[in-house]
Amino acid sequence: MRIRAITAIVAILLVAALGAPAVAQEKTLTIGVLGPLSGGAAAYGVELVRGAEMRAEEINKAGGLKVGNDVYKLKLVTYDHKALAADAATAANKLVHQDRVKYIIGNAVGATCNAAQTVTEPQKVLFAFVCWGTANLGPDKPHSFRIMLSQWEVAEPFYRWVKEKHPKAKRVAIISPNDTSGKDTNTAVVKALRGLGFEVAADEYYERGTKDFYPILTKMLAAKPDMLDVAAAPPGEAGLILKQARELGFKGLKGWTAGVNPVTVIGIAGKEAAEGVWSPANINVKSDYVSPTVRKFGEEYERRYREVPGVIAVANYAAFDVFTKAMQAARSLDTDKVLAALTGKPFDTVWGKLVLGGKETYGIDRQFLYPVVISEIRDGKVVDIAQVLPAALKK
């Protein structure tokens, strides 16, 4: 009699255990981050990692990422590709095959994006980067995303604004580093300028790492430009170009269409040379115009890393935000479902409203689009003065 009872109880317990509804289990979601973490381009890679770290930690601290019925702890795996294409391919291989990531969020330096894509696209890994260059987005690369506005999105609205506000400016001189992003930037800016009726006074390149711009500037300024655009120059070099242009007597309008960290520029160029510089591509975390979320992000970042965040850190922070929100919307980590959830409705991010677009330029909607904020440096401070919406957001 007892044996029967015990068997019955055990049987009931077993059935209960098997039939019970799935309990939320804690799992890990590993996300890869690539970047140049050493050498001359280190500033980009380090900012990417920091932006990723901050968002991942925020999510983990809040209890993890809840996707469907599961809760995931976010884990980051970061590799340094030293801005070398071959290295980036190997690192991407390691991420995809050994660390088994399905998401790589964060990469910089054009050539490395192309190299990493030879790994990520065939494996259908979602790959998000800041790299410029029209070659790295396209219908043949449906799993690749650019998470920061490039010159193809910014140059035209920016120069349209310049034309409106300063109709007398006719000749524009541009200068960028001699690499993938520089080439791409100048091409986009020249196209925008010609389309709007400006004259291109100079279209110059310099080798990355150059500090002495007197020789190139002497040539550029001899063409008598009304405006000088330091285009894709990184903050250190942009600051030097502006400083030296002023020393050589340039007193015209100044722009930095791919400007990513105006605060550094002010320090290096000096207040006078930096006065009046327009940047349509940065975010100023200390501005009065940004949301409290951005300001909080800026303060926390500065507290942790003792440096002011540039737009790349914000871009990756926002990217992590967008991707994790898409996972939640899709209720799945499956890349096809997340891909579907990404394209379509806008997201609320630190940039404001963000939507995927870019079909006219790249043939596919994989470019993050958000409001372009034009800032001006006034008296040593970065002040936001205008906002331009990309066409896709004007709805």
Partner: protein, 334 residues
């Protein structure tokens, strides 16, 4: 104990066996990728070491890889030739360029040769990076280069990681045979004589210049071959692939392995190659630790890792003989 002639054969056999058997232990795409890169680097470092055996530190070695890569890529994408033809054409073009550049560079020696070869490598890199953009892709380089077509005759597809690995392995083993045989032949003897005392060699009737040029061209030919493989397996090509950074790594592999023996670069390339991959997980700290490893290894093993076992054995023997000598001296004091 295998005879002096058999030892290199044994070494080569072990190497070939290890290479062929690797996929039995792992089919992981990442491991195969690393192994393929290693096989490519081995071809490059063995060639570099051959040049170093005549006293040249050729900083332009990797430029010939670049020349081979661009040649093959353009012949396949623009002219429509088959990879199996362009592979060898690329090697030929690299060798031809080597004859030109080597004839100039080898007029000087020692540190001057080091510097002139560095200057040449920068000229080549800047040339491909900035001139004739429509052809070479400018600072963005080339993208979308196709993988090798199936092997003619057998119709074997060579697109997957495993097949590509075997292809590079075969190419490497072919090169290794040549390098090893050269090393143990009169050519190798002449080469090391040149390194140690080139004026003396000259008086003995050795045409120093021609020997150096031969090693330069041979190394460059193999580099061109490696370059053609590289560009079709990676499918993208950028000037950073044959700039100072990868060149320096090749020198590091070769010297840390040890330039005194043809097996030095093998040891250096494999051990350091594995170390670099292992250090990758340090992220930020990778470069820092690698720098430290380099310094310590070079300071404690100045003749390279391959010479370490010999050094240790000699130390042990030395101590044993000294002990024996003291024992004799003490025990039988008159």
């Amino acid at each position: 104990m295998p005879s002096a002639a058999a030892r290199p054969a044994v070494g080569f056999a072990l190497l070939a066996l290890a290479g062929l058997a690797l996929p039995l232990f792992t089919r992981d795409a990442y491991h195969l990728d690393v192994a393929t890169t290693m096989a490519m680097n081995l071809s490059l470092t063995m060639g570099l070491r051959l040049q170093m055996s005549t006293g040249q530190i050729n900083m332009a070695h990797i430029s010939f890889m670049g020349i081979g890569a661009y040649t093959s890529a353009l012949l396949v994408t623009r002219v429509g030739l088959s990879f199996w033809a362009t592979l060898w054409i690329a090697a030929g073009v690299a060798a031809a360029c080597a004859v030109l550049i080597g004839s100039l560079a080898l007029r000087v020696s020692g540190p001057y040769y080091f510097l002139i070869s560095f200057a040449f490598s920068e000229v080549v890199r800047l040339f491909f990076n900035n001139f004739f953009e429509d052809l070479f892709g400018g600072p963005s380089g080339l993208v979308g280069i196709p993988k090798p077509t199936p092997l003619p005759g057998l119709g074997l597809a060579v697109e997957g990681k495993l097949e590509l690995y075997y292809l590079m392995l075969v190419l490497f083993l072919l090169a290794a045979v040549v390098f090893i045989r050269l090393e143990y032949s009169r050519f190798g003897l002449v080469a090391s004589t040149i390194r140690q005392a080139d004026l003396l060699a000259e008086t003995l009737g050795v045409n120093v210049f021609r020997h150096k040029l031969a090693t330069f061209v041979l190394g460059s030919l193999v580099a061109g071959l490696a370059g053609a493989f590289f560009v079709h397996s990676h499918q993208v090509l950028h000037s950073s692939d044959f700039g100072l950074e990868p060149m320096v790594l090749l020198v590091v592999f070769t010297v840390i392995g040890g330039t005194g023996s043809v097996w030095g670069p093998v040891v250096g390339t494999i051990l350091l190659g594995v170390a670099v991959e292992f250090l990758r997980q340090l992220g930020h700290y990778e470069t820092l630790v690698l720098g430290g490893v380099l310094m310590l290894t070079m300071l404690f093993a100045p003749e390279g890792l391959i010479a370490l076992p010999g050094k240790v054995a000699r130390r042990v023997r030395h101590r044993r003989t000294r002990k024996a000598a003291t024992a004799v001296g003490v025990g039988l004091a008159p």
